[in-house]
Each structure stands twice: as C-alpha cells, then as structure tokens.
C-alpha cells in the first residue's frame, strides 16, 4: 500500500506517499475501536437486558434503541472533568491515554484478511501479546495516581491478576505457533484455508481444551466480569475508575472494548481460521481458476472483503460470548482468580501443550485431515512470499530481455 501511494508522488517526495498510507491505515484501525465500542456498548445493553429479562434500551433512535451509544457519548462529553486534590496531576491525566494507546497499538499487527495488515510483522503474535501486557499499566497508573484508597485497592488487585493470567495466556498462544511453525499472523490464518475442518481448533482434542483456557485468560486480561476485580463496583465503589469522569472515563472504556475486540480477533485467527469462512467459496474458486480469478485484482479484493466480514463476525461472536459470561457469572475473589489461573489453567495448558506436541510429532490424524487444503508448511511468511514474487518478476524480465530493451527504447 505504501509503495502504491508512493507512486503518486514525484521522486524524493515518496515519503508523502508512505505517510498517506500510514494515515489511511491508522484511521481505519481507529475506527475499528471507535465503531466497535459504539456497536458493542449498545449490544452489551441489549444482551444484558435480555439476560435479565428486560428489554434494554428501546427508545433512543428508533425501535431497538440503536442510537443509545451516541446518547451515552454526548452525555460523557458534556460531563465535568474532575480531578481529586490529592491526585498526581500528570499521571492522572496520562493514565487513560496509556491504556488506549496500548490497546490501539496492538491492532497495528493484526491482519483482517489475507495480507491486509497495517504492519506485516514476522513476529506479529509475539508483538500483540507484548503490547497486550502493557495495557494494565494504564490501569495501575490510574489506581495509583488517583490518591484514593478505592483506586489503590483496584490497582493492587489488577497487579495480582496480571501476574496470574499472563502465564497461562502465554502458554496457550504457543500451541498454534507450534503447529504452524510461524509467529506471522497472516501465515497462521492462511494455513487454515479450506473447509472449516481445517481450522486449528479441530487439529486435535488438546487444542480444543487449550482454546477454552485461552478464552478464560483472555476474559481475565480485558478485566471483564467475572474477573473485573480492579473495578468491582459492589466492593470498591468503581475501583481504579472511582475518581474518573467524562471523557477520561470513557477512554478507559474504549480501551476495554478495543481489547475485547482484539482478543476475540486473535482467538479467531489462532483457532477459528481467521478470515476463512466455513465453506471455501472464494478460495475454492481461486484454486480452480488460478489463472483467471487468482490473478484478478478485483476478485481477490472482493474475496478479501468477504474475509474481513468473516473475521469480524467471528470476533463479534467472541465479544457477545464475553458479554454472556459477564451477565451470567458472579465475580470471583482475588484468591479465586489466582487459584484458577495458576493452579488450574497453567497445569491444564502445560499438559495440553505436551499433548499437542506429541500429536503433531507422531503425525496422528484428526478432523484437520478430512478435507486437507494444502500442506501447512507450504504457506510461508509474508517476507518469503514477497521475496518469491520479486524473484519471479526478476526471472521473467531476465527470460525476455528483448521486450525489456524494446520498452526501454520506447521510453
């Protein structure tokens, strides 16, 4: 994309093209968070209403109250921005931005379709996990700088929670990396193309268990009930959010919804085939007519757009399940969270890691082998594919030197 825009500008001004490409990508990604929060805050109200046998919002903006998030947003914007006298002013103001920036930065490395990623990183998954761990820093900073005992309690609980869920979460994401042999999220997604039996969750029984461990840890990592110990509105007033109001408060919520979408996107890429639909309509067509459709820019772009819809649908299902969990289970105690993560999730993840390792090493078949699409190892990382493309281009130009020179004469 950067190279495409760079072609618009004269020599020595190509950086404007790259800047333009970066701006377009950043704006698109900001809208994933902003519109995602807009939609899911409304969905959360409706889902929680239905679960509690209520209707939820019904009046704002028509029949289903679908403009409720806008009304919430206007209310939050018009609220007075308060800061306690005892607070540390610099850190108090910075904390929401730290949270939101961490949540946003992780989206840079998340692909939305084959090759549609802002920054094609060789180590995309590792980068996302590293950034995800930084989001809690904003929460801890907020709790510490508020100068309130409730906030400080919230931050301390958050700290205890972080060191317990990060360990099993890290072990869970290692399993897809082990099967695929790459940390490139694009390659991991592309290795699961074909029928839905090719999704990694159907690789073997152990990874099926691993997914549920991942999901539990992911809910803990986005601080939602039943793991919302840092907020705990029935015990700590509002935990680390106690002293926040208006826009700063809503920035924390944008970060929370952003991380919910992020961990759900990650789950759909790692376990549920990413942008590949359950039935391979477009990839099947491309495989059948590689010369006509595979080379057609319009067709592959359309297939990728459908892929984006696919992955967003999968991620939305993940977010809705998180809401279901939130409004169904009571909050755990601090010691229960630590026990669950360290005493149950870590051993389960470790056993399943060994199980997947032996399953892969011994080459035992499972649902993945029913309708295999292509050998896993044939799908390579983006930098290898780019190198192959460039090599093929150069080779073609070497094979046909006459037309090449003819072109040069015309110019």
């Amino acid at each position: 994309m950067g190279e495409y825009f760079a072609g618009w500008f004269p020599a020595d001004w190509e950086f404007l093209g790259y800047t333009l490409a970066a701006l377009v990508q950043a704006i698109l990604l900001i809208h994933v968070i902003a519109l995602g929060a807009f939609v899911f805050i409304w969905a959360e109200r409706k889902v929680s209403g239905r679960i509690q046998d209520r209707l939820g919002p019904t009046r704002t903006g028509g029949k289903f109250g679908w403009l409720q998030s806008l009304a919430d947003g206007i209310k939050l914007l018009s609220k007075e921005d308060l800061m306690p006298k005892d607070a540390d002013p610099i850190l108090f103001k910075l904390a929401p931005y730290v949270s939101l920036a961490a949540s946003f930065t992780a989206f840079v490395a998340v692909p939305f379709a084959a090759g549609w990623v802002a920054l094609p990183l060789n180590i995309g998954l590792f980068f996302v996990i590293a950034i995800l761990g930084l989001e809690v820093f904003g929460v801890i900073l907020a709790g510490y700088s508020s100068g309130s005992k409730w906030s400080l309690f919230g931050a301390m609980r958050q700290a205890a929670q972080v060191v317990s869920y990060e360990v099993p979460l890290g072990m869970c994401v290692v399993v897809p990396v082990m099967i695929c042999g790459t940390m490139d999220l694009v390659a991991i997604g592309e290795q699961q193309r074909g029928w839905f039996t090719n999704w990694l969750i159907f690789h073997d029984p152990f990874i099926f268990i691993i997914f549920w461990v991942y999901f539990a840890c992911a809910v803990a990592s986005v601080n939602r009930a039943p793991f919302d110990l840092a907020e705990a509105e029935s015990e700590l007033v509002a935990g680390f959010l106690t002293e926040y109001s208006g826009m700063r408060w809503s920035l924390f919520f944008m970060a929370e919804y952003g991380s919910m979408i992020l961990v759900s996107l990650l789950a759909s890429i790692l376990f549920f085939g990413g942008w590949n639909g359950p039935i391979p309509i477009f990839t099947g067509l491309i495989d059948w007519f590689p010369d006509y459709l595979g080379n057609s820019w319009v067709f592959t772009t359309f297939a990728n757009l459908v892929g984006v819809v696919n992955i967003l649908l999968k991620a939305s299902i993940g977010v809705i399940i998180m809401m279901w969990v939130r409004w169904t289970f009571p909050r755990l105690r601090v010691d229960q969270v630590i026990t669950m993560c360290l005493k149950y999730c870590v051993p389960i993840a470790a056993v399943c890691l060994l199980g997947v390792m032996f399953w892969t090493a011994l080459g035992i078949g499972f649902l993945n082998d029913l309708v295999p699409s292509q050998p896993r190892a044939m799908v390579r990382e983006s930098w290898v594919e780019e190198g192959q493309r460039r090599e093929a281009k150069r080779f073609d130009s070497l094979q046909t030197p006459s037309t090449d020179s003819a072109k040069g004469e015309v110019e």
């Binding site: 790259y18 590792f126 761990g133 809690v136 290898v384 190198g387 460039r390």
Partner: protein, 241 residues
C-alpha cells in the same frame, strides 16, 4: 518546522534517519527525566517510555524480534517492578526520593565510566559508523542480476540454485536480514545461518554459551528465590511455636 521542510526539499534526506532522531530524543529525554525526578512512580513511568522508545529504535532497525523482546521483558518487567518493588513496599501514598550529593557523585562516576566505554566501543567498529546495510544489499543484488544477464547473453540457462540465490538476495534487499526470528533461534542453539554462505555450510559458532549462562543465571535466581521464600516460612513457623 521550516528547517525540516527545507531539509525535505534536499534530495539526499533520509527519512529513516529523521525517525531515528525523533525516537532517540524520546528515549534519551525520558532517560534524563528518570534521573532528575523525585517522585518514584513518575520515575517508573519515564523509564517505561524510555524503554519503549528504545524498542521503537529496534523496530526502526528492522530487528522486530529483539524489539518485541524489549517490550515484553524490559517494559513489561518494569511494570512488574513498579508493582512489587514500589507499590507493595510503599509506606505512604506518594513517595519522594531525595538524592544526596554523594549519590550524585557516585552515580556520575559509574555512569560516566560506562558511557565513555560504550561511546568508544561504538565508534571503534568500522561497520557501525555508517548504516550502509541497505546500499550494500542493493549493490549485491544488482551485481548478481548483472552476472545472470551476462550468463544469459552467453547462452547459459538459469539454474534452480541461481534462482534460490536470487531469491535470497531479493529478500535481503527488500526486508533486511535482522527480522528473521528463525535465524536468531538457530543461532541460539549454535547454527549461524546468517553467517553461512551456502546452505550446506554449518556456519560459525552461535550464541549457545551466552544462552546457557543466562539460563543458569536464571536457574540460580529461581533457586535463591525459592530458598528465601521457604526460609521465611520455616522461621515464621518456629517463632509461632
């Protein structure tokens, strides 16, 4: 701003270098804040920004794996350090640290000595004095293409080995070598794939020894931590009896 625009108008401006200086100013500026501020949590915040900017420098250099490692270990580790070292041991809400003059002198001596050694080392190695990696890779690729063209003119057919070599050079010119985490992993167990000229060559010795030393160091730390934790519990039980 106008200076920047003027510089942009000159044809030889390297935007990579501009981004390097912006990130480096962040890293160094917040490192200075770490040493000058009195509030310990602000200090930790500045340290995290400085370390994150260092990670940005590594990303800028194309070493994505090391950059993400920096984020994971140093930045994430500082968060945990902040939690356990500062917040759990704090007696009152906002701690301020006063640095005595003797501490300043000692710190300047140690830091200055380290800085001078590092500075000298950085300028000692000729390869580090200019970032001509990209130019070298481009030149190597262009030379190989010329060689292939000459072969073609002689009537030779391009072999598969030559195509593989061409692909390797294309990747090196396009992406750079440092971002391949697989090679770092191989080097950790003793195979320097990046130094090997041919695939069948084993390459030079890797980072196996430092890797082992680090792991033994970590093991010692773990054993020590377990020992300390156990010892405290035993003495506690003894005291209660």
């Amino acid at each position: 701003m106008s200076e920047l625009l003027l510089a942009a108008a000159q044809p030889t401006i390297n935007w990579h270098t501009v981004m390097f200086y912006v990130t480096a100013i962040f890293a160094c500026g917040f490192a200075v804040v770490v040493t000058t501020t009195n509030n310990i949590v602000r200090m930790a915040f500045a340290l995290i920004v400085s370390l994150a900017a260092t990670s940005g420098l590594l990303f800028l250099a194309g070493a994505y794996f090391v950059g993400a490692m920096q984020l994971m270990i140093y930045v994430g580790g500082t968060v945990v350090l902040l939690i356990f070292g500062v917040m759990l041991t704090a007696q009152k809400a906002f701690i301020t640290m006063r640095t005595r003059a003797s501490d300043w002198i000692l710190g300047l001596l140690v830091g200055g000595a380290l800085f001078s050694i590092l500075l000298q080392l950085a300028f000692l190695i000729p390869q580090w004095q200019s970032s001509d990696y990209q130019a070298a890779a481009d030149a190597e690729l262009a030379a190989y293409v010329e060689k292939l063209k000459a072969d073609k003119a002689d009537g030779k057919v391009i072999t598969q080995e030559q195509r593989d070599e061409l692909e390797r050079l294309e990747i090196a010119a396009d992406d750079g070598m440092p971002q391949r985490s697989g090679e770092i992993g191989l080097a950790l167990v003793g195979v320097r794939a990046d130094k090997a000229q041919r695939p069948d060559e084993p390459g030079l010795a890797g980072y196996l020894l430092p890797f082992e030393i680090v792991s033994i160091h970590l093991l010692v730390v773990l054993v020590g931590a377990a020992y300390l934790a156990r010892a405290r519990r035993h003495s506690h039980a003894g005291a209660s009896q």
